[in-house]
């Protein structure tokens, strides 16, 4: 009975041995939630550093302390340093520089670039923008027709909803150089007073050098306002490799002293992963860039803002 009182008043210093097993459990939990292994490692290292040597009350549970610290670290990674107000950026460029704002959608095959480009287009239409969609995937069968259908759908949606926005397709068919088409699209948009150019590109594997060079060329030639990396929530550890190699290719193949890098992320197929939302963390950690939008389905309205709280919940919850 006496010792019970003693314990209450005494303090304990956190040692690595106390923390390690808890961290290990938490790490495996995060891996199961589809966070890339590397990133779980970095997280647990930093938490170890932050907590070793700290004094805690005897009855505080190490688990709670570690979880709280983990939650903070995750929130920090998910909270971008750069602003994410795309609309404001567009308005700014339109007004002050009197030119269209351009976004290039890049990523590996089949992640949802074209579909989410169309969703962004719908969002911009709702915000009264005049948009040019540039069909710069000149490789994959049906890629041009896919965009044509979207532009047609969006146009009739606009009519039905009485939106003042307007959208047109700029295409030159298949087999042509995508960088040149993007350039022509942007200058067409400028001459015809479009507010935004959305550039669709072909999917490509991050290790495919010729295709990565072609992408770097498109970026260098057109210096778009935003390079948007489209990544799917389904992807596992590859997320890290994809993003770092897209960035590296943009750097290595640009020939520029100050090369462009990925500016933001669209995280797609979020509706297919339940609580396994770890890709959100992997992607933001690797780039330090914000998730601009989350794709949550296959219709035009399935585009949401990232809800950091709910990501943390899904990652750490049972």
């Amino acid at each position: 009975f006496l010792s019970y009182f003693q314990n209450l008043t005494s303090q304990r210093v956190l040692k690595e041995e106390d923390l390690a097993p808890v961290l290990e459990t938490l790490r495996n939990h995060l891996i199961d939630r589809n966070v890339a292994v590397d990133i779980t490692g970095v997280l647990s290292e930093s938490i170890l550093k932050a907590l070793v040597g700290k004094k805690i009350g005897t009855f505080s549970r190490v688990h709670t302390i570690v979880s709280t610290q983990m939650e903070q670290s995750i929130k920090k990674i998910l909270t971008p340093s750069t602003a994410t107000d795309v609309l404001r950026d567009i308005n700014f460029v339109n007004k002050t520089e009197n030119r269209p704002y351009s976004l290039v959608f890049v990523g590996v095959n089949g992640v949802g670039k074209s579909t989410n480009l169309s969703k962004v287009c719908f969002w911009l239409l709702q915000n009264k923008k005049k948009i040019l969609v540039a069909a710069c995937d000149t490789f994959r069968s049906g890629a041009v027709e896919q965009l044509r259908v979207h532009v047609r759908n969006l146009t009739s949606l606009c009519e039905n909803l009485n939106l003042v926005g307007k959208v047109e397709l700029f295409e030159k068919g298949y087999g042509k150089d995508s960088a040149t088409i993007a350039r022509d699209a942007i200058s067409f948009a400028k001459n015809n007073e479009f507010d935004v150019v959305l550039v669709d590109t072909a999917g490509r594997m991050q290790d495919n050098e010729p295709l990565m060079r072609a992408l770097a060329k498109l970026v260098t030639m057109n210096d778009p306002d935003k390079i948007v990396f489209v990544g799917e929530a389904l992807v596992g550890n590859e997320a890290v490799d994809q993003l770092s190699k897209f960035n590296r290719a943009l750097k290595d193949f640009s020939g520029l002293e100050r090369p462009r890098q990925i500016d933001g992320i669209i995280l797609t197929k979020f509706d297919t992963v339940d609580e396994k939302v770890g890709a959100a963390l992997s992607m933001t950690y690797v780039t330090g860039k914000p998730v601009l939008f989350v794709g949550t389905g296959q219709t035009y309205t399935d585009l949401k803002k990232l809800n950091i709280k709910s990501i943390v919940c899904s990652l750490l919850g049972q």
């Binding site: 590397d38 994959r140 965009l147 594997m205 992807v235 550890n237």
Partner: protein, 294 residues
């Protein structure tokens, strides 16, 4: 020592997206079967453990029977299913092309009325490969398209009819119901689940759901031309045979067979699946050839 080696291997498996539960199972089993104290000195313990895990994984993906093959002169109907963007439409043509060159009378049916440009995609692929195809710009019911397409080609005496379907996921019940309906009218000889080789921890749940809705006979893993190791896909196979997995660790002879891996966007980029090199690559073992011989 043992713990360290196991940690290393666990890490390699995790990094290849092998499902967490499966990694745990494998680890437990290693601890049980590898009596490290009894190994004479001189034997490389890490190699031994690696080899044990390697064998386990091989057992998992190699049921020891031949993958499904269409039979010439019969009506073989193959239905492709899978998550959005996994590579179904591309792989349909690859498979069609592969068997066309083997002398089959092959054709393609597009039932994807949902994705913008889906019919154009299949049409352009098929035209380039000179494969007859069926689809429609106006019909919006995939089940009707499936019926019409399959009937047409059946009556024309084709022996391999490949049916492409829209991408879908388990969270949307209606999409799964639609898949079931298509399967019911098509009565496929074989249903192929197409899985993206980069898939992570969600693989398991999705694969289970597909398997319990339609009778999947084969899996094709796509996009293995990249850097991906395909561990998520491997886990999905384990997941679909999971009831048995719980009883005995030695993974059962489930009837899912890996038949091919897609290795590129072009029509020739289709390779037969070879378990040993696949697992070797997945485990990040550079020196697998040595391992396989032992």
């Amino acid at each position: 020592m043992l713990d360290e080696v196991i940690k290393d291997i666990q890490r390699a498996l995790f990094e290849s997206d092998v499902n967490a539960r499966l990694v745990k199972k494998l680890t437990e089993n290693i601890k049980k079967t590898c009596k490290l104290d009894e190994i004479p000195s001189g034997v490389n313990k890490k190699k031994l453990i690696q080899k044990t895990i390697f064998d386990e994984l091989i057992k998992m993906v190699d049921p020891g029977t031949e993958p499904w093959k269409p039979i010439k002169g019969k009506v073989n109907i193959v239905m492709f299913v899978g998550l959005q963007g996994s590579g179904k439409t591309t792989t349909c043509t690859k498979l069609a092309f592969y068997y066309q060159r083997k002398g089959f009378k092959v054709c393609l049916v597009c039932t994807d009325t949902f994705r913008a440009g889906a019919f154009d995609q299949l049409k352009q692929n098929a035209t380039r490969a000179k494969i007859p195809f069926y689809g429609s710009y106006s019909e919006t019911d995939p089940v009707q398209l499936a019926i019409d397409g399959v009937d047409k080609f059946k009556s024309e005496g084709f022996d391999l009819i490949i049916v492409d379907t829209s991408g879908r996921h388990k969270q949307e019940a209606e999409l799964f119901a639609e898949m079931k309906q298509i399967s019911d009218v098509v009565q496929p000889t074989n249903s192929i689940f197409v899985m993206d080789g980069t898939i992570g921890q969600a693989a398991d749940g999705q694969a289970k759901a597909f398997k319990s809705t339609v009778d999947i006979g084969s899996i094709i893993i796509t996009k293995m031309d990249g850097h991906a190791k395909g561990g998520g896909a491997i886990s999905a196979v384990a997941a679909t045979g999971s009831n048995i997995m719980y009883i005995t660790f030695y993974l059962p002879k489930f009837n899912l067979l890996f038949s091919f891996i897609g290795t590129g966007e072009h029509i020739h980029d289709l390779e037969p699946f070879t378990p040993k090199s696949f697992i070797g690559k997945m485990m990040g073992m550079g020196d697998i050839s040595g391992l396989i011989e032992t």
